[in-house]
C-alpha cells in the first residue's frame, strides 16, 4: 500500500479555505503520527514495507480527515466564513495596499536594487568620460 497522500490533503485543505498555518500544523501532526505508527510496527518486528502499509491503513482515509476539517466552520479562514464582508473589505484593503507595494518591493529587494543602482552609476560615469575624451580630442585635435 502507498504512503498517505499528504500532498493532496494539503491542496484540498488550502482550496477549501483552511488557513496555511493551520494546514501546516495538521500535516505536521499527521506526518508525526504516521512515523510513530511505522516505528511501532517496526519495533514489533514487521518489515519496513509492511510497517508502512499498516501505518497507512491505521491512519485511515484522508477524505475523512478532510471532511472532518471542513465540517468545522471555525477552522476555515474568516474570508470563507464571512464571504460577503470579504468581498467588501478586500478591494478597500487593496486600494490602500497598492501605493505601498513599490516601497515594500524596494525594501525587500534592497541589496539587488543597490547593485543595480551602482552598476548604472558606473556605466553612466564611463559613458560621460568617453564623451568628454571625445569632445576634448575634437577641440584640441
Amino acid at each position: 500500500m502507498r504512503e498517505p497522500d499528504f500532498t493532496i490533503l494539503r491542496t484540498r485543505l488550502l482550496e477549501n479555505g483552511i488557513p496555511p498555518r493551520h494546514v501546516r500544523r495538521t500535516l505536521g501532526e499527521l506526518e508525526d503520527h504516521y512515523r510513530d505508527l511505522v516505528d511501532e510496527a517496526a519495533v514489533n518486528g514487521v518489515s519496513l514495507e509492511d510497517a508502512r502499509a499498516q501505518a497507512t491503513a491505521r491512519l485511515g482515509d484522508m477524505d475523512e480527515v478532510i471532511a472532518g476539517m471542513l465540517a468545522c466552520p471555525d477552522l476555515r479562514g474568516w474570508a470563507y466564513r464571512h464571504p460577503r464582508i470579504a468581498v467588501v473589505l478586500y478591494p478597500i484593503a487593496c486600494l490602500f495596499a497598492l501605493p505601498a507595494m513599490p516601497v515594500i518591493a524596494g525594501v525587500s529587494n534592497a541589496p539587488m536594487l543597490a547593485r543595480w543602482g551602482a552598476s548604472l552609476l558606473l556605466a553612466g560615469l564611463f559613458t560621460a568620460t568617453m564623451l568628454l575624451v571625445l569632445q576634448l580630442s575634437i577641440l584640441f585635435g
Partner: protein
Amino acid sequence: MAQSNPPFMSGVPELLLLRLLDQQEMYGYELVRSIRKVTGEAISLGEGVIYPVLHSLEKNGSLKSRRKAVAGRTRVYYALTRKGRDRLDDLRSDWHRIQGGITTALENPSHA
C-alpha cells in the same frame, strides 16, 4: 484498506478525547493508543480523524495546546480547559441517558 469510521460513531471520539485529556495532557498518537487501551480495542478509529476533532475542540475553547520537543520531534500536547470539563460533563450525561434508553429498548423490545 484504510480504516473508516461507522456513522454511529459520531460524537464518540469527542467524548473519549475529553475523558482522556481530563486525566493528563497528551498528543495525538498517545491519545489514540489510550483509546484503544481503555476501550479494549473495541473502538478502532481511522486514527487521522482525531485531529479535526482535536482542532475543533481547541478552536471552541474546550482544549488548549502547546508544543513540546520530545526525542527530536515537536509534539503538540493537548490539555482540557474549564470549558472542556463542562463539555465533558454534558456529553457524559447525554451518553448515559442514550445508553440507558438503548439498553432498555434492547432488553424490552415490546416496550419500544
